[in-house]
């Protein structure tokens, strides 16, 4: 259905050159395809290219801001740029220049962003306030000052002031070739510095005191990192806006962190995730013109974050749920093995299993899962009307668990004075997780006290 209309649509959407022509109807497949493959007209291409590169740079730089625990400083910086933008505008008008010149405005933004960082440092250094409070203060006071100035400009200045408020929520559609070129160079600088200073950055982020003790200039490295953060933030003002630009520095690295434990891979993935959010977000917003690009880009990054958080194999939420469930299943099935062993290998009747389930508070729906677990390990021989019958391997494991259980009980009884806090926590679980080394150590400890725990 969709495919058919797409083929038809590709004819009459041909020749469309500007994103402003797009109506607010749902885009056809062909339009989506054109936008995503840079065929939707020059302006749209520039916007998509610019935001993709912004996402790439922010993703790469964001990794180190995150690892240095400075991500929120970026939020303070972005909010602190607003008064600078307004002052730069006023100064330019007073001096008789074109107030809306982007280089002038961004210079103002950079300077007041730097002033914001310096204020945070000063507050932390001279008072007992911590960095989080300092960030909150700088962010709100600077932004407040910016809003006051902006209101003043809009009331009093000439019509040339229109568009200053675009810096607050961003307007990617205003990006022109020049902006895309600037974005290319910013992304290039970020990538180059991160590649050159990869080991220095990682050392400072991991262990600052060791870095200093071995003679690295931590303040210089911090300065470079902060400069990159400011660069990306200011670059993102136009496209994403000062409220949301911090998301471009935080979301890609935290999403990437779910997928990998290797730093270089983290940087790579974070850059990729940032770039794809910029790419997808600006493409979608080009197709739906009333949707602000910045917000859609951040939403795209948010979607990628949720996917990573839930779906990543090692650190993801679902994976750890599965792991916990399978550990619980293992423990539950080992209780079964233990019970079977203690009744000398006779099959365990269904009543007894249900009784065990009540005793251990297993929900009944776990019984099939348990059966599966036992089967997979080759512990279950057959399930008949008589009950569950175990294989010799299953019974052997039961014997082992039963012995571990008694070893641990004996240990707790013998060492009740040193381990009282561990009794509640572990009595039901620990025998299932004892490693052979720990078992040997337990045996040794108990033997020292003249206690021998036999096979049965």
């Amino acid at each position: 259905m969709i495919g058919l209309s797409a083929h038809l649509g590709s004819f009459h959407s041909h020749g469309r050159t500007s994103i402003t022509d797009v109506t607010d109807e749902l885009p056809t497949f062909a339009e989506i395809f054109e936008t995503l493959t840079f065929q939707a007209g020059f302006n749209t291409n520039m916007v998509v290219l610019g935001t993709t590169l912004l996402g790439l740079a922010a993703g790469v730089v964001g990794v180190f801001a995150l690892l240095r625990k400075r991500s929120l400083v970026a939020d303070a910086i972005s909010h602190a740029t607003l008064p600078g933008i307004c002052i730069a505008f006023l100064a330019a008008v007073v001096l008789g220049h074109e107030g809306r010149s982007i280089p002038i405005l961004l210079t103002g933004a950079t300077l007041s962003g730097i002033a914001g960082v310096l204020c945070i440092h000063a507050i932390v250094r001279c008072t007992r306030l911590h960095e989080d409070a300092a960030i909150g203060i700088v962010l709100s006071v600077f932004f407040g000052a910016g809003v006051v100035l902006l209101t003043y400009i809009q009331k009093n200045a000439s019509a040339g002031s229109a568009g200053l408020d675009h810096f607050i929520t961003g307007q990617a559609a205003t990006m022109v070739t020049q902006d895309a070129v600037v974005m290319v160079s910013i992304a290039g600088v970020c990538l180059l510095l991160v590649v050159l200073l990869f080991k220095e950055f990682s050392l400072v982020c991991f262990n600052e005191s060791f870095a200093r003790a071995t003679g690295w200039s931590v303040s210089l490295l911090d300065l470079i990192m902060m400069a990159l953060v400011i660069l990306v933030t200011v670059a993102g003002l136009q496209a994403v806006g000062l409220i949301l630009v911090v998301a471009m520095l935080i979301l890609p690295p935290v999403s990437a962190r779910f997928w990998t434990d290797r730093l270089w891979l983290l940087v790579l993935l974070s850059g990729l995730i940032g770039a794809s959010s910029g790419y997808l977000g600006s493409s979608v917003s080009a197709l739906l013109p009333r949707k602000p690009a910045g917000a859609v880009i951040v939403l795209a990054a948010g979607v990628l974050f949720v996917i990573s958080m839930l779906g990543a194999p090692a650190r993801g939420v679902l994976a750890s749920l599965v792991r916990r469930l399978s550990l619980n299943m293992r423990i539950a099935s080992e209780h079964l093995l233990e019970a079977a062993y203690e009744q000398e290998g006779r099959p365990i009747p269904g009543d007894q299993i249900r009784g065990l389930a009540r005793l251990r508070a297993w929900p009944l729906w776990t019984l099939p899962l348990m059966k599966l677990t036992l089967n997979r390990k080759g512990y279950l021989a057959s399930v008949t009307a008589e009950g569950w019958r175990l294989t010799p391997a299953g019974l052997a494991r039961g014997a082992q668990v039963s012995r571990n259980h008694r070893l641990w009980e004996q240990y707790l009884v013998s060492y009740a004075d040193i381990a009282p806090s561990h009794v509640d926590w572990s009595v039901d679980q620990v025998e299932h997780v004892l490693t052979p080394e720990l078992v040997a150590e337990l045996e040794h400890e108990l033997r020292m006290r003249g206690i021998e725990v036999g096979a049965s």
Partner: protein, 279 residues
Amino acid sequence: MTATVHSKPRRRQGEVVIARPEHSKESPLSVHAMTVAYNKKPVLWDVDYDAPANQLIAIVGPNGAGKSTFIKACLGLVPSASGQVEFWGDVYKRARPRIGYVPQRESVDWDFPVSALDVVCMGRYRKIGWCRPVTRKHKRAAIECLDRVGMASLAKRQISQLSGGQQQRVFLARALAQESDLYFMDEPFAGVDAATERAIVDVLRDLRASGKTVIVVHHDLQTVPEYFDHVILLNMRVVASGEVADVFTQENLQRTYGGRLTLLSEASEAIAQAASGRR
């Protein structure tokens, strides 16, 4: 070797500062009149110490006695309010390539995306220099250091997946990778398993056998005579220092760990209060 027992502060206020004794070029660490304060609250007062070369030296003292601070001040990680520190008669900056450091294990976030090998390679970053990548040669050296602490098989393991003792051994291996002549170790024995404790002791003895000096913040009084040659008893000032056999006595320990607040800590408190304007 002689044992020095400092029973009184050496100088009273107003007294002319005596020309400081010539520090020997042999002594790997000479500390003279070092005073350190955190937020205006002094934590170390007027510390004088000359470390003998090629010995294992323990710093012991109660919590808050300034043991870690002493190490950090020697390494320039916390500013000292006054005093001098020299290494082999030279200033810290020039001696730095010959000094290794093992920070406290708790001082870093172990959920950092690097492997044990990556961490050990950090010990060689200074040798590698700015902007250059870690070459295979340095990686091989790092693996050798991991091997010396019995961790070569876990080189690729992400550091959060190591036990506390293994993490401590990674830190030790990183210091070994620095190939230094003087080592500072901050509580390397804190909360480690028996295997790690043995591995650390073996490494310490190896280091001594190859002519190095090691200064260790240590919390377990029982093992001091077994593991160390020299000891510094520290409680805001140096209560006593010297060979373990001479200095590590019941009486000195009593004076170091004595129950009441010392006069010094009460004075520190008073200074901090005055500085914060509460008095």
